[in-house]
């Protein structure tokens, strides 16, 4: 007779797995990867490969030799961190900087906390902000799209629309005259702008969003609340003083906003658990992003905003609970 297996219920499982989710996100990022290779050519490929390989390597090495646990790099989370890190960097970044970034992302941002699932901050963003502050020169030289298909380190560089706007406004130029200097909104939508590898084509990122929503990898709460907040906040500023503050569409389509809202703020590990919490988190990110972009020293604030809100996630989780059954005693009537 067979020996029976005994275990507590439930006895069936949905079949969902960590791997499926991680590779799902990677698939969702492929359109953006394609777009960045289309616009930046070789550099985009080199940077992406370098980041992915070094992240996976560091995770493996740290697990094997420092933590002495079984490496779990195949779950795809390290590769994803690498991919997203690469998507946040200029495509002409020297490889040694990419390697430092990967080490920081995986070593400090993730494994120091205990690896997958334990990190408070988004590892890829830890890596990126660390680099941004450490190597401000290299991290702010953005290759011009479509001109550097085969150039890597010596690509011709230009400013991102956000830094054009920031510099211009700082020098007292008006929004309308500056808008003329940057690509049109439709170009921004399809990605013809200077910037980091993954943030150029809003449309590619949106395709990824739709894919992830359909596969139920993420829910709408975080991306929508971020984008809506940015739209509303920058809209108000714009209405108050149109020549001093750029409009909502400009803010939404430029910089890493889409990438951040769709792929980085949604990182399971470093975002809140309850839907209400996610919305608070998203609003926080939106507000901080605009504040940094408009009033701060940096032209771009999405990375900082996400990291800052990551810090608040434990508090949000503690005080914002999912809606509990039975809290509202009677919901009789409609619905």
């Amino acid at each position: 007779m067979n020996t029976l297996t005994v275990s507590p219920s439930p006895h069936v499982h949905s079949g969902d797995s960590v791997k499926k989710n991680m590779y799902g996100v990677i698939i969702a990022l492929l359109p953006a990867l394609a777009a960045s290779v289309y616009y930046f050519g070789l550099g985009a490929l080199i940077v992406t490969m370098a980041a992915v390989i070094s992240c996976v390597f560091f995770e493996w090495a740290i697990q094997k030799y420092l933590l002495k646990t079984n490496p779990t790099v195949l779950d795809g989370s390290a590769a994803l961190t690498g991919l997203l890190l690469a998507f946040n960097m200029p495509t002409n970044l020297p490889i040694w900087i990419i390697i430092i970034g990967s080490l920081v992302a995986i070593g400090i941002g993730k494994m120091s906390f205990g690896g997958l699932g334990n990190n408070i901050f988004n590892p890829a963003l830890v890596g990126r902000v660390f680099l941004l502050i450490s190597f401000p020169v290299q991290m702010t030289l953005w290759p011009k799209p479509s001109e550097n298909m085969t150039n890597y380190l010596d690509a011709t560089t230009g400013a991102t629309p956000l830094s054009v706007m920031k510099e211009g406004l700082a020098n007292g130029e008006s929004v309308s005259s500056l808008m003329a200097k940057i690509p049109s909104l439709s170009e921004l939508f399809f990605g013809n702008l200077g910037g980091s590898a993954g943030e150029v084509a809003a449309v590619a990122l949106l395709i990824g969003l739709v894919y992830m929503l359909i596969r139920k990898i993420i829910t709408w709460h975080i991306p929508v609340s971020i984008i809506a907040t940015v739209a509303v906040f920058s809209g108000i500023l714009n209405l108050a003083s149109p020549e001093q503050f750029a409009g909502p569409l400009f803010h939404i389509l430029t910089g890493g906003l889409m990438l951040g809202a769709i792929f980085m703020a949604t990182d399971y590990v470093s975002s809140p658990m309850a839907n209400k919490g996610m919305i608070i988190f998203g609003i926080g990110i939106g507000v901080i992003t605009v504040v940094i972009r408009v009033f701060g020293a940096y032209p771009e604030g999405v990375s900082f905003a996400i990291l800052i809100m990551n810090g608040f996630v434990p508090l949000i989780d503690k005080y914002v609970k999912p809606k509990r059954f039975g809290e509202v005693v009677k919901t009789a009537g409609k619905k």
């Binding site: 020996t3 297996t5 005994v6 507590p8």
Partner: protein, 286 residues
Amino acid sequence: MNVVLITIISLGVLGTLAAIILYFVAQKFKVFEDPRIDQVEEVLPAANCGGCGFPGCRAFAEAMVKSDDISDLNCPVGGAETMSAAAGILGKEVAAAAPTVAVVRCNGTCDNRPKVTNYDGATSCTIASSLYGGDTGCSDGCYGLGECVDACNFDAMYMDEKTGLPVIIEDNCVSCGACVDACPKDIIELRKKGPKSRRIFVSCVNKDKGAPAKKACSVACISCKKCQKACPFEAITIENNLAYIHDDKCKLCRKCVSECPTNAIHELNFPPKKPKVEKVVPENAE
């Protein structure tokens, strides 16, 4: 005016002011807190293990200071030494509690007790116990999932990989009882340490009748009552088909040990028996 003078004066005034104000305020707002609490806390081991039944050493210290009769308070970690030190501070008496140590009362090793099902749940004895009696025929024995080991804060336990049973490292055990509480099956017991750490106990908790017990595990107590008859001191009782040796009555004569047909009675730390010496071990004859 001279800077030095100004300095001295301003500082002096300030200092005096501070002293006077502090003095009067302190007088006015005096609150009494028994200083002995601190003193007692100082002699406690600061393990904060809760073995005494209080939430941490300070709470225990407070309880000691507050209660008149401290005979039922005991810090198992610190043992008699600590207790008498603390009692000394308070000028109270302690009844010296006999030192105890944890013993594992199950010998159902993988060999003695064949598995009849596979357990595929979380690694926790309590969780397994909410599900069933275990993956062997014995529904009272050890699950071997090591919840007791996790509960021990003093590195006094480990799981023996071969037998699948927990083992107590006597030297480390401070008899805090955490493992006893952790085990869902009451397999672990705190027993008197005994002279020279010698102990005799029934290493089985199976409450089945003889035949099923024997079928489930080859070293189970089958409640044959032979030990009970053998014991000259009436230290053994049998209840629910299980023999139990009361450590306050047991004189460690070892008669029962050889009687047991399934070798369920264990003796610890005795010198190897010389063949065929039927004498009471001298130092226990009182």
